[in-house]
Symmetry: C2
Subunit: 678 residues, 2 copies
């Protein structure tokens, strides 16, 4: 096929890459074996007609859900045909890139049965669920309660006579709502309900509740269940988020999950031994979400980087020379306004990736400590994972939409591929802890550290040690940034000192503001803005530190020096761009002087210029295949306009010369005042 100009442009950009791309792919995905396996699984999905990208959009809600069911079945068939491990199966599900009706069965229902069921329960329900002879969902939120789970209104009341729980929606707002897999597919639901024995309320516990008959899939009497309908922005279109309302629905006493709390045959409630152990799985989930934020944003940035490389607009010179053909219009990626938005985003992607690695290591080491009964690191790991989840998923959601804006008019076509990524990703800012609320937990944790700093400074946790410096307020207020010339900004210790100072100041301010009232309580809700600022400042510190440590780790892994150099530039750009975003705080504190702000901007500009030849390679390194990218504008070959044109031609609406609706509507419009006399 003839090389079009866009194809030449992308190839030329690729040729300029200064480092071996595969080196970085290995750094991202772990090993050559893992890369190879990923590619095999990606191809398995890409080559299957059920997962074709051509027929995924423009469907009605009923068709969408039906397609979600078809994809679910096909995935199970592939698992069987190719003897896929559970891990490989979940990777394939990721490559399908749709929230599916079976998604939460696999990622929530099964794990929770093993985590919260007794050994006996795990043995009974586990295999049934793994062989999907039953399909479950995880039903927590209600129409009236999302964030505040302590006020859930669904009840499970012990009926001693029948030895059953009576599951009941006590009020209208008790209706379970938003539950993935509940709408049409599930046979069982893991219901969080208030456990009540003899009128005493023991709070929310988990129960396995049959929803639909295994015989004919009809809901049981006393169970009003259905789909909650379309979601915003066309997101979550193939999954059946559902509602359920119970009218005194009885289930066996043994269906309560009893690994921790128990209720005996004679109706005795037995308390769980440890209440904090359940935090572990939340930490793991949020850690995954940190890495997910990086890969999601990377996908959008891959598309935007490629398209802005091939898109040319305006014959105006830029200082950056066009190597392909100076007589052509300017490549959009050469405009400073585009670089200033895109390049720091790429730096954020790599910083979040590094933080994901940090989280994984923290989680693993915490896990082995927990095995030995040591819960000392749990609080810090939980606080960091909450804060990072909030900060990183906010960055990613904003960034994906920024990618669309970078792509001008065509970015608004569904075929740009950004729409699907963003509309599916954006609710992650709300689920698994609302991003605004999570910051409260993280901030309160830091407050504990600052109070520890005055009494037992040696006990302050590793990522909070900067709070110690705030104790001597005079010395802390006299702290100044050590930058003397622009190049000093590239020193990691100078960068980290700035992050530490800002977070330190915010935690000290919060400690001052959090004055207990007469009854000893603090009106936290009045401080939630301050908590929010502190939490993000702390997360930014963790991100900057992870990025710096990531460069060191790349060095110790023996990556090529060119690769290490580009990772160092990204780490620098992340740090400096993030500092720049809070210049007001630094200036108000006299930590930075106006000339230092000037030199900061200069250094950021230099870093961006130094990355210009590498951004295509930096995105290629993620190794997304075209099927998964699902973008006419961001494909590997760069042939954006042709792919856009081809996608459009395949549309159902273009298969007839005259549209369905002509006789019914168009002709009557044209003839309302009689036919035209031309």
């Amino acid at each position: 096929m003839a090389q079009t100009q866009p194809m030449k442009d992308l190839a030329a950009a690729r040729a300029k890459t200064s480092f071996p791309v595969h080196d970085l792919t290995r750094y991202i995905h772990g090993s050559d074996e893992k890369i190879a396996r990923r590619r095999e699984l990606a191809a398995l999905v890409a080559n299957d007609p059920v997962f074709s990208n051509d027929k995924r959009t423009g469907l009605s809600r009923v068709q969408d859900v039906k397609q979600g069911l078809a994809m679910s079945l096909r995935l199970y068939q592939l698992k069987e045909e190719h003897k896929l491990s559970q891990e490989d199966f979940l990777t394939c599900m990721d490559f399908v890139d749709e929230l599916l009706p079976i998604g939460l069965h696999e990622t929530a229902f099964i794990p929770v049965i093993y985590a919260q069921g007794s050994e006996e329960q795990a043995k009974y329900w586990g295999p049934l669920a793994e062989k999907h002879q039953i399909i479950g969902c995880y039903a927590q939120t209600e129409i009236g309660h999302g964030s505040n789970l302590s006020e859930l209104e669904t009840t499970a009341t012990l009926d001693r006579d029948s030895d059953q729980w009576i599951i009941h929606s006590t009020t209208f707002t008790a209706s379970k709502f938003w539950i993935g897999g509940l709408g049409v597919i599930c046979t069982h639901a893991l219901i969080q309900a208030r456990l009540i024995i003899d009128g005493k309320d023991y709070g929310a516990h988990g129960f396995i509740v049959p929803i639909r008959s295994l015989k004919d899939h009809r809901p049981f009497p006393g169970v009003k269940v259905g789909d909650i309908g379309p979601k915003a922005y066309g997101g979550f279109s193939k999954i059946d988020n559902g509602f359920v309302r119970f009218d005194k629905h009885p289930i066996p006493r043994e269906n309560m999950l009893m690994r921790f709390a128990k209720v005996t045959k004679d109706g005795q409630y037995v308390k769980p031994p440890h209440s904090k152990l359940a935090y572990g799985s939340m930490v793991l989930l949020r850690s995954h979400m940190v890495r997910g934020a990086a890969t999601t944003l990377a996908r959008a940035a891959t598309i935007a980087t490629r398209y802005t490389t091939v898109r040319r607009q305006f014959k105006v010179p830029t200082s950056r020379k066009d190597v392909v053909n100076p007589s052509l219009e300017t490549q959009v990626i050469n405009y400073p306004m585009v670089q200033a938005r895109l390049f720091p985003m790429i730096a954020q992607i790599y910083a979040i990736l590094a933080a994901g690695n940090t989280m994984r290591e923290m989680y693993n080491s915490m896990l082995s400590e927990l095995m030995n009964g040591d819960i000392s690191s749990l609080a810090e790991v939980h606080a960091i994972s909450s804060g990072l989840k909030s900060t990183c998923s906010t960055i990613a959601a904003t960034g994906v939409e920024d990618c669309r804006k970078l792509m001008g008019g065509h970015g608004y076509s569904y075929f740009s591929g950004i729409s699907h990524i963003w509309s599916t990703y954006v609710p992650s800012n709300t689920y698994e802890g609302d991003n605004f609320l999570l910051t409260q937990q993280s901030a309160r944790y830091l407050l504990k550290q600052i109070s520890l700093a005055t009494t037992e400074p040696e006990k302050v946790t590793p990522y909070s040690r900067y709070v110690i410096k705030t104790i001597d307020q005079d010395a802390f207020q006299a702290e100044r940034c050590a930058v003397q010339e622009p190049v000093d900004w590239l020193r990691p210790e100078i960068q980290l000192a700035a992050f530490e100072h800002r977070a330190g100041r915010l935690v000290a301010d919060l400690a001052l503001a959090a004055i207990p009232m007469q009854d000893g309580s603090i009106v936290w809700s009045d401080l939630n803005l301050e908590c929010w600022r502190l939490c993000h400042a702390h997360s930014q510190y963790v991100l900057a530190r992870s990025a710096i440590e990531g460069v060191a780790s790349a060095r110790s892994q023996g990556l090529a020096k060119e690769t290490i150099l580009v990772l160092k530039r990204l780490s620098d750009l992340f740090a400096l761009h993030t500092i720049q975003a809070s210049l007001g705080d630094y200036l108000e504190d006299f930590y930075l002087s106006p000339p230092q702000c000037q030199s900061l901007r200069l250094q950021i500009k230099k870093l961006q210029e130094s990355l210009a030849d590498d951004v295509v390679g930096l995105m290629d390194a993620f190794d997304f295949d075209d099927h998964f990218l699902n973008s006419a504008l961001g494909s590997f070959d760069g042939n954006a306009y042709q792919h856009l044109w081809d996608s459009v031609q395949k549309e159902e609406i273009n298969q007839t010369e005259v549209v369905d609706g002509y006789k019914e509507y168009i002709a009557p419009i044209l003839n309302q005042h009689g036919p035209a006399k031309l």
Copy 2:
């Protein structure tokens, strides 16, 4: 019907309003007569089954477009049945709240024929179009060119023998793309094409080009036309944005629009007398977009304000007392984190509304000047309208999505109503001038003013007079904010001085940076970040000034003193919140001191508290009816959960007990490993 708690909450909030709401409604919509007419037209649409909100979503692309056609026909029927004026007809189309296939016929094709057609052409084509005996679209952008219209590749070449233009797509990238109404409905297109006579290229001109036969709606030979498919985020779902590619399609010479440039029968090209007159309509369009930004954001904020008033979550005290029942959970709107996001947005809405009024007045006075051949104000009005369009539509798009985030989990339901608003609005950041590119024009205009300030300061235009102060650099750099105590922040002259100082500094900096190269040219593209910052700073100044003048105008219109007080608070909050967002700039410049920053924050907090009782009324004042809001969560009665539940129950997918797809997909999943043995 029994009052539910949410209904009581909203009623209680409404009862606390400190000012007469109708007073403000009159201020917004003009007069009691206009309010009454608006309500009649809104009811006309709301009561017509074709425009029912129940069946608008969850449709396939083909069904969506068909519904768009049905709505188009119904609108024309209503026009006839109720003898609607064109203005009332367009208001009804607004209330339908969908981009429709006939939309651009009415708002672009018809006006352009009258604006750019000769008298003879207007007489011939105008009535045909007004009676929609032909349906037109306006075809400018191509697949390869959106922003840069000077490089359009479609040609209209004069064939002297046949006295015809030959319309031709010279390359693949010349295909017209994104054209609303072109996909399935239009019979004619107003094509922008390069006019070529005897090999000489005269640049882009407009031509009326027949696309589909009036007999059977089939495209003419040489015309490949169709729909460009789905757009991002489910937006623009009912309109047929289309593509067209011409293969030497002949049209009569007289089909060139000849009000300005002409081509005579013997093939002579006659130049247009004035080139700048066409700017007028662009200014008008962008002025409308300023007001549109306010009303669009107001709609989303109405929903968010009402829902956060009725949503209760967490039993934590806030300093703001719950008047309804202190034993209930806290109303979400009482959290400072919510107020800090929502209240400044409401202030932005009113500032943008005031700027819309400013623009209208400027446009009208410019128009009467133009009639007298005076083009002196054109440049300023054009620059301000470009800048405001960019700033205001950015604020509105960001704000609408922020409203969704304020609404937590349920915000992501389609039934929140935010999704439709945002997905339809967000492309306005790109069309009618990309928001990033527009800032370049506006900034260059200000540079001209600063150079004028040194030579002929009396000629500097009214909204740019602050540049004069920058000429004496020493005095300018010594400028300091006059605030001594928090209350000083409420003085309009102090607020405006801050905006003027910041914009002045940015224009002076840009003048220094814009150093011509040896050939006298300036590499503008290297400065586009600086232009962007300057343009927004200037727009913010115009907004703040308009808000302040709006309060004065409300006073002179005789509004109640309570209404004026609340408008003054909004104006203050807009100014202070906007200044706060650029604290870094002010501190770096020593214009603000750290204690002034402290007092600024304090004053913002006070303003927010003072508005807390009025936000529901401030949104009610826009007088949006429930059908137009189309939000289960934001309806006037506040019964959010019940409406959400009811919307869900109506979904097609919930009309059967067992989903379509059970036998085909679910049963095979459940039985892949044999049936469950329970």
